[in-house]
């Protein structure tokens, strides 16, 4: 059963990883992806918006399809929404599996889908100006690898 969360306040990736690794001690291998707000590129804040009726249900469905595709011992998926500052975690995905390749593929798959299919909208503040971020072509190309 996956642990899927929409976090409206900051979360602590290290504490989450420690708990996840302890909960899946039988797995052998854990692959994680941590995305954080970049430091030092002039971005003063990042805002992620979500749409309540779709966002968490969509993440739960993504977790289910990830688990259906690879034999995992556990899957953790946490995505922030709200206003974030440089250095703060945005997303953490961790997949625990008996076989290393399964954990890598599952985390990779989940991230590609979170990036370009999950119901989030992102804008960043540079100076006093907020600008919406459009998905990049690369994001769609990444997603197309799985079909």
């Amino acid at each position: 059963m996956a642990d899927v969360r929409l976090a409206l306040t900051p979360f602590d990736p290290a504490a989450e990883m420690t708990a996840f690794a302890a909960a899946h001690g039988g797995a052998g291998g854990i692959v994680s992806f941590l995305g954080q707000v970049r430091v030092g590129e002039g971005v003063t804040a990042l805002e992620l918006r979500h749409y309540e009726p779709l966002t968490l249900p969509g993440m739960i469905a993504l977790a289910a399809s990830t688990e259906a595709r690879w034999p995992l011992a556990g899957l953790l998926m946490i995505h922030r929404s709200g206003v974030l500052h440089p250095g703060e975690p945005i997303v953490l995905v961790a997949a625990a599996a008996r076989h290393r390749r399964d954990a890598f593929a599952a985390a990779d798959f989940a991230m590609d889908h979170l990036k370009s299919e999950a119901w989030f909208w992102k804008r960043e503040q540079v100076g006093a100006v907020w600008r919406w971020i459009e998905p990049r072509d690369q994001d769609y190309a990444d997603l197309a690898r799985w079909t």
Partner: protein
Amino acid sequence: MARLVFLGRLEDIAGVPDLTVPLHAPTALADVLTTLPPALSEALAGPKVRLARNGELVAANGLMVNEADELAFLPPVSGG
């Protein structure tokens, strides 16, 4: 009364995150949009904007909006 919800950059164009429109009978989406400022209705009808009615994705084509519906306009997403 139906509620229109604007996500992402559509909120900037609308100037508000949501808008309540008076509806007294099921109304075609196209007719709902004509009551809005042209810049907004044009953006909402854009080819990349998806729609969710009461939390379920729906096709824009031929859509009827009912009283008390929540209709969300979803531009391309960018998470992670």
